[in-house]
């Protein structure tokens, strides 16, 4: 291996003392990334808030959908700013925004995680099958991926929703349906190159069947980029779900949901800044920390700076 500029020498590494699993190494690298660790901690907090949203409701004494027309609205019928009673203020129907933001986290994280998992599982299965089996399987699946990728997302979403009405399940399915193809395409590309590796050939020469090779040899080697992609996909899904809700295509009211809240605040942002600002910040902040974590995960799996280059 030769390079015209070297940052480090090419060395034959002798056996090290302990067996270091590639996953363990990646985790250690992630742990050293302070930004990623802080983001991870914040994500845990957000999760806890979502899980314990009823506790938040109990503590404030305000259930999420309860409208407090007397205490929660001004005499003119406008939302109240943040105060001792309503820490985040109220919305146009006198509901506690703090509690609604907490409950909104459930929707965002729930859809974010479930839709992403669905996407990834389907995408990986199809990508591995297409890439590894080749032939007509690949031709059919690859064309399918192309077709799905060329469908217009928004139009289809609107069409589906107008047919069946907004619902959480539909949101998850719609998002999943449109995202699996990107994952599949990436995975297929990876698998095409892994297929040519000698260890796959070795497995064949031992008599392993296709299924076993895909599960035992190919899959673990695509997992790393898949994990990176997944972590970076979650914030995208969260934003998409919020956008769908904003357009009225996602959740049925009165369920608390960040996108929906932002939509409801449209007419009030001049008078009641907190109505739009606070759910908006929750959304932005959540996607931000997921993105930061995703960057850290990607660096942990694929470090380039100051590494010993092995032959």
């Amino acid at each position: 291996m030769t390079m015209t500029t070297t940052a480090a020498p090419v060395t034959e590494t002798p056996a090290r003392i302990e067996g270091r699993s590639p996953w363990l190494l990646a985790w250690r690298r992630l742990r050293r990334d302070r930004v990623a660790m802080v983001s991870l901690a914040i994500i845990v907090v957000i999760f806890l808030v979502a899980v314990f949203a009823p506790v938040v409701a109990a503590l404030t004494g305000h259930p999420p959908n309860e409208q407090y027309r007397q205490t929660g609205l001004t005499p003119d019928g406008l939302p109240r700013p943040p105060s001792g009673t309503f820490l985040f203020g109220t919305d146009d129907l006198g509901r506690d925004i703090l509690v609604r933001v907490a409950y909104g986290a459930r929707v965002s994280l729930g859809v974010g995680v479930v839709a992403t998992l669905l996407t990834v599982v389907v995408g990986v299965v199809i990508g591995v099958a297409a890439g590894f089996l080749g032939g007509w399987v690949d031709t059919v699946l690859a064309r399918l991926i192309d077709v799905v990728l060329s469908l217009p997302f928004l139009l289809t979403a609107i069409a589906l929703v107008s047919l069946s009405g907004p619902s959480l399940t539909l949101t998850v399915l719609v998002i999943g349906f449109f995202s699996w193809s990107s994952v599949a395409r990436i995975v297929r590309g990876q698998v095409l190159s892994i297929k040519e590796r000698e260890y796959v050939e070795a497995a064949r020469s031992l008599g392993a069947g296709d299924l076993r090779i895909m599960a035992v040899d190919v899959l673990p080697n695509v997992l790393a980029p898949v994990i990176v992609y997944t972590t970076l996909l979650i914030p995208v899904v969260i934003s998409v779900q919020a956008s769908l809700s904003f357009l009225g295509l996602g959740i049925e009211p009165p369920t608390a949901d960040w996108g929906g809240m932002i939509a409801e605040s449209r007419n009030y942002y001049q008078t009641s800044w907190w109505f739009m600002f606070l759910p908006g910040m929750a959304l932005v902040f959540t996607t931000l920390v997921f993105n930061l974590l995703g960057d850290g995960v990607r660096d942990a799996f694929d470090p380039r700076v100051d590494r010993l280059i092995r032959k």
């Binding site: 699993s21 590639p22 070795a202 020469s205 031992l206 069947g209 673990p220 080697n221």
Partner: protein, 363 residues
């Protein structure tokens, strides 16, 4: 290392052909060019011996190896293992055969799955064929590790924790798991440092003796081939050009290509290096997509004559050679013939330089 031609060959290949389509211009292209990787090869491997297969890049030796182990489908021809025709067996029918024929690969860094533990890699064969339950599996794997000179306590480590030489040992252990009869070693030491190469070569030879293995040993390194082989087959552009016992190929070379291969190898000895015959071949290896007509080597051959362009010489004994020494040449090299002074009758026009004269002296 004994071989006897009274016994039946363990593996026999008859007129094996393997081509790959290249430059497909569409899904249903009929204009695909054919890369003729293996173009009519017949050989035999006898139990207990090492057949060395030597040739340069593009000669088809790796493809041939994969045809013989049925990792590829044959385009034509037959392969027999222990007398049984395995040429067109389906993958399922081949599975039991996998226990008899195994392979060791060249690249110590690419032939082991980086995400699997070494114990799992070596024991893969047991899992695939459902042999041994998991408790005895670990014991068997550790036995194999010891056999190849690895510390059995490193069972749970990953390939990245081992050096190149150790990784090759892991590959050897993996191949031995099913106690095969024939092992195809595809350039097993080419990627290793010289001092480690020697360790692995010793290991392979020791194992052969102790476990009664038969090897097909592929390499481009002539000194390694000479050291390990009982018999040698030399390949060029998809065909075998010469085959004989190892010492015979080196000392009584008949084919001009074999001769130039030997002369190109610089000996690690200044006096020998200065004194040796130098045949420097002109030009590049032709593409296996369009091999030359007639004898494939004739455009670069220092002994080429008119008939070489017309006839593809058969692989047969030439001059007064014994029946085990086969050469595919119409004008084979005589003993003590000095090829560095020969002036070939045919000159490939594409090798003339821009001034229109032959590149006298410059290869």
């Amino acid at each position: 290392m004994n071989r006897s031609h009274e016994t039946e060959p363990l593996l026999r290949a008859v007129d094996v052909f393997k081509s790959f389509p290249v430059n497909k211009t569409g899904l249903f292209s009929r204009n695909a060019d054919l890369l003729r990787a293996v173009d009519g090869v017949s050989l035999e491997i006898y139990p207990g011996e090492t057949l060395g297969l030597v040739g340069e890049t593009g000669c088809g030796k790796s493809t041939l190896a994969r045809c013989l182990t049925r990792l590829h489908h044959l385009s034509a021809g037959t392969v027999q293992f222990e007398g049984r025709d395995i040429s067109s067996l389906s993958r399922r029918e081949l599975r039991p055969l996998r226990r008899e024929i195994q392979m060791i690969f060249q690249d110590p860094y690419g032939s082991l799955n980086p995400r699997r533990r070494v114990g799992s890699i070596i024991g893969d064969a047991f899992a695939i064929h459902g042999i041994e339950d998991s408790s005895s599996r670990k014991r068997r794997v550790q036995e194999l590790m010891e056999l190849v000179g690895l510390n059995p306590e490193h069972y749970n480590r990953f390939p990245a924790d081992f050096s190149g030489g150790q990784r090759q040992r892991i590959g050897v252990a993996r191949a031995l798991a099913l106690r095969p009869k024939l092992i195809v070693c595809d350039e097993p030491v080419s990627s290793l440092d010289v001092s480690i190469q020697a360790q692995v070569i010793n290991l392979l030879l020791d194992l052969q003796k102790d476990l009664h293995l038969t090897y097909l040993f592929i390499s481009h390194d002539l000194s390694v081939i000479r050291h390990v082989s009982d018999r040698i087959a030399v390949m060029y552009l998809g065909k075998i050009v010469e085959t004989a016992a190892a010492d015979v190929v080196f000392d009584s070379t008949r084919h001009p290509y074999t001769r130039s291969l030997l002369s190109a190898l610089p000996p690690a000895d200044p006096d020998a290096a200065d004194a040796r015959e130098r045949i420097v071949l002109v030009g590049d290896l032709p593409s296996p997509v369009n091999p030359p007509l007639g004898c494939r080597f004739h455009p670069r051959c220092p002994k080429a004559q008119e008939d070489c362009a017309a006839v593809d010489p058969p692989l047969a004994p030439v001059l007064a050679d014994p029946p085990e020494h086969l050469t595919a040449c119409l004008h084979p090299v005589e003993l003590d013939e000095d090829l560095s002074a020969t002036d070939p009758a045919i000159v490939d026009p594409s090798l003339l330089n821009s001034l229109g004269t032959e590149q006298g002296g410059l290869p």
